[in-house]
């Protein structure tokens, strides 16, 4: 275990969130796997997480169905509800867990987004949050009136303008301005409600807001971008930042960087929580957990899925190749590869990408399937309940993370072991709450009151 003197936060407790697996690496070909798209499955995961005292339930964002070569991506889970609509329905069947909508600043108007999120916040008694994401993906823009309109360089400048417009809308209506008696002169103290005026390069908004504030003041702001622009925006405006940094030293470096940025902005270190996304697979023994992890890999990475992964680089159908054999000895079809998979997160040309794959495959003598596993294995933890509880406790006690945003491997049972086994083990270590202490998401996360959080200058 850790040297006690190194423990910076000896009383710190973990915060858990759960990311609903609407697309991508989730087991669907199993007798236990339920529908990924039905409301009942969303409700089941949310209720399990709430039983496990999770802070938050997340839905992702994706405004275009993924495509592959000349057709649609058929091998992956696909199909999702509108995020705020499904969360509003979940507000009625849950009572404590936070409800986080990932919403794209590029393809949602701030006027609509502010009204809809504030509504969820009121309907849930202060459990709503917005995970701010941006895109300049013109391919997604083909589904929208405005099209792919945003230059890449303006992505974060635009996102901050959008976010400010939303924050100003929420701030315009102070709490306790609606009458408590039918004899009051007016229904609300109209003079106390500000008119939002937001005019800049991106928006011309003049608006009387319509939704009063919730018990948590306004929805919590999450930010997920890991680039320089994303980190800077989070350190100025967000209440929570996601990250992909799950390896301990890497996570600690990231957390130190974020804390330094907070100090530089005059914000307290505890005013922004750091939640890396991770898959956590536990078993009663380490061997059992590893067997389970291998079964998940085998079941999610079908031969079709493995071939589809490399087909994106080669730009052509490779179904005649054996996934247990070597990489195809052919050149990629350069001009026909685009970002239509919606997943391309690198800046390599197809030729560079395939060259990189060849290098890795040759160095490790990988088959196609092994190579794809090398690039797609989930970040996270596999081990016995006790070992994983010790490891996660170390992260929070050393300030490498405030908690984790967990990716269940299956719907609706993929969270059961976490809630039934890992949570009690963490509670035994004093590293996880034994009940919800507050009622709002802001309280669950231990964030400062909203007045303090919003004492940030509003000039962009």
């Amino acid at each position: 275990m850790t040297n006690h003197q190194d423990v910076r936060f000896p009383d710190a407790q973990l915060h858990f969130g759960v990311f609903y697996p609407a697309i991508g690496s989730v087991v669907w070909d199993s007798p236990r796997a339920g529908s990924q798209t039905s409301f009942e499955s969303y409700a089941a995961i949310a209720r399990t997480a709430e039983r496990g005292l999770f802070d938050a339930f997340f839905v992702g964002d994706g405004q275009r169905v993924r495509e592959h070569l000349d057709g649609f991506n058929t091998h992956d889970v696909s199909g999702r509800p509108d995020g705020l609509t499904v969360l509003s329905a979940l507000a009625a069947v849950t009572s404590r867990i936070g409800l986080v909508a990932t919403l794209n600043a590029t393809y949602n108007d701030p006027v609509d987004l502010a009204r809809r999120l504030a509504t969820l916040d009121l309907l849930s008694h202060g459990r709503a949050a917005w995970n701010v994401v941006t895109t300049d993906n013109a391919w997604t823009g083909e589904n929208f009136r405005r099209g792919g309109y945003l230059p890449h360089a303006d992505r974060y400048r635009h996102a901050e303008s959008h976010l400010l417009a939303v924050l100003r809308t929420w701030r315009a209506w102070p709490s306790q301005t609606v009458a408590t008696s039918p004899q009051a002169p007016t229904w609300a103290q109209n003079a106390a409600i500000e008119t939002v005026r937001h005019h800049d390069d991106f928006y011309d908004i003049e608006l009387r807001p319509v939704v009063p504030p919730s018990p948590q003041g306004r929805p919590v702001i999450f930010q997920a971008g890991d680039s320089e622009g994303g980190r800077a925006l989070a350190a100025r405006r967000a209440d929570v930042i996601f990250s992909r940094h799950t390896q301990f030293d890497d996570a600690l470096t990231f957390a130190e960087d974020i804390r330094a940025r907070l100090r530089a902005n005059g914000r307290s270190e505890d005013s922004l929580k750091i939640l890396p996304g991770a898959s956590v697979i536990v078993g009663d023994t380490r061997a059992e957990a590893e067997d389970k992890a291998e079964w998940i890999r085998q079941t999610t990475l079908t031969p079709r899925a493995a071939l589809a992964f490399i087909e994106k680089g080669f730009g052509r159908d490779l179904s005649e190749y054996d996934v247990n054999g070597p990489l195809p000895d052919i050149d990629p079809v350069i001009d026909e590869v685009s970002v239509t998979g919606g997943t391309v997160g690198h800046n390599l040309t197809p030729r560079e990408l395939v060259a990189q794959w060849r290098e890795v495959a040759e160095a490790h003598h990988y088959s196609i399937r092994e190579l794809v596993l090398h690039f797609t294995s989930q970040r996270g933890f596999v081990g016995s309940v006790g070992d994983i509880a010790d490891q996660l406790t170390r992260y929070v006690r050393h300030g490498a993370a405030d908690g984790f945003n967990l990716h269940p491997f299956e719907v609706p049972h993929g969270l059961d072991d976490i809630v039934d086994k890992l949570v009690p083990a963490l509670q035994d270590r004093g590293a996880y709450p034994t009940d919800y202490v507050g009622t709002t998401l802001r309280e669950h996360l231990g964030l400062p009151k909203v007045a303090a959080a919003d004492a940030i200058p509003t000039a962009a």
């Binding site: 329905a89 008694h125 083909e142 609606v178 319509v210």
Partner: protein
């Protein structure tokens, strides 16, 4: 006639501008989720066919009354899992929101309510809305084109996943059948949408679509003028809403709505009833003393429960249903539920629908089934 449908608008504290002063709750609990759930449960228990929430992006200007308002789609979704039979209609705007988001929102509302969603097409062309979204006010021609095109794009998006697209086929490793997903490639005068939708086909195939008859008229006229051919098979909307301050006017509008191809016609009616605090006329004059309720294009029935029943029974001879705007929800909704709906059942104007699970009643039905509307064929199905 034995199938006359009764829908009720649950906006604010009621249709009268002074309704908030006569409500049974404090003004600051109007938007509380508990109050809303209890009112919706009451409407379902009484046996109304449909409730309506209307979306408005900006408040009335210069009013002493209610300026608070929840997003109506979210509100509809919130009450979905707590109800089991009543239809949930949401009045959503088409002029600024993205058609793609509208389609996903209503598909999701339909999934979360197990097939009880309806969309009332709204096109508030208001200078305050224009200022909020930062564009000049739209002219009537622009609006007419937009209404028809947004409805068409949304309906195509609902069809963009055929039934049975998710196959989860172990043998081929395919989760979906790619042949059943479709780009809609809608190109209108003001926008285009590629598709498919992110959300699988709604439970009802398509949620029920309602629109005001004059809006429908303008949209169809604009389409005809443009020479564009619609890709929607059959009528543009399922239910046309009509108004008219007397029975003759309602009759004329209903005939016009049927000429436009609407399968069902509902009339909008304002109601004030006798309660234990006074007769309908006394209540109305007290409310009007606080703030007058101007008369518009709708029929207004002010009277006892049996007088309201008489009026509705008369309307049942010319239209398929009624959309009620009660003056004060807390006062008029219980009178409608306890007296008027049973009275209509006694007169065989309509039955009070059975609640599933009680007295051996059948399982819950979708709103389309309840209204006798067919499940729409998918325009993309071979």
């Amino acid at each position: 006639m034995s199938s006359f449908f009764v829908a009720v608008v649950l906006d604010g504290d009621g249709a009268h501008p002074a309704a908030w002063r006569a409500a049974d709750h404090r003004p600051d609990t109007l938007l509380s989720p508990e109050r809303i759930l209890s009112q919706v449960a009451e409407a379902e228990r009484y046996g109304f066919d449909l409730i309506q929430f209307t979306d408005r992006q900006v408040p009335d200007q210069g009013t002493d009354g209610i300026v608070g308002q929840l997003d109506a789609v979210s509100l509809g979704a919130y009450v979905g899992p707590t109800t089991s039979t009543i239809g949930i209609a949401v009045g959503a705007q088409v002029l600024d929101p993205e058609p793609f988001h509208l389609a996903a929102q209503f598909a999701s509302l339909d999934h979360a309510s197990l097939g009880r969603a309806a969309w009332i097409v709204r096109a508030d062309n208001d200078p305050l809305v224009a200022a909020a979204y930062g564009h000049p006010e739209r002219d009537a021609e622009w609006v007419a084109v937009e209404v028809g095109e947004v409805i068409e794009a949304v309906r195509l998006l609902w069809d963009s996943w055929e039934d049975g697209t998710v196959i989860r086929d172990s043998a081929s490793g395919r989760y979906i059948d790619g042949d059943k997903l479709h780009h809609i490639d809608f190109v209108g005068e003001h926008f285009s949408v590629r598709g498919p939708l992110i959300t699988p086909r709604p439970t009802q195939g398509q949620p029920v679509v309602l629109a005001d008859t004059s809006l429908l008229q303008q949209a169809l006229a604009a389409r005809e003028a443009s020479g564009r051919v619609s890709r929607i098979d059959g009528p543009l909307v399922d239910v046309a809403l009509v108004t008219g301050t007397n029975r003759v006017a309602v009759h004329e509008q209903a005939a016009a709505a049927r000429d436009l191809g609407a399968p069902l016609v509902f009339v909008e009616v304002e109601v004030v009833l006798d309660t234990d605090t006074g007769t309908a006329a006394e209540r109305l004059s007290r409310l009007d003393a606080d703030e007058p309720w101007g008369t518009g294009t709708r029929l207004r029935v002010v009277g006892s429960a049996s007088e309201v029943s008489d009026a509705l029974a008369g309307l049942a001879e010319v239209v398929d249903g009624v959309l009620l705007h009660p003056a004060v929800l807390d006062a008029d909704l219980p009178e409608l539920g306890r007296l008027v709906l049973p009275d209509l059942a006694r007169r065989s104007v309509r039955q009070i629908p059975a609640v599933p699970g009680q007295d051996g009643a059948a399982a819950a039905t979708t709103l389309r089934e309840r209204l006798g509307l067919p499940r729409p064929a998918n325009v993309f199905a071979a």
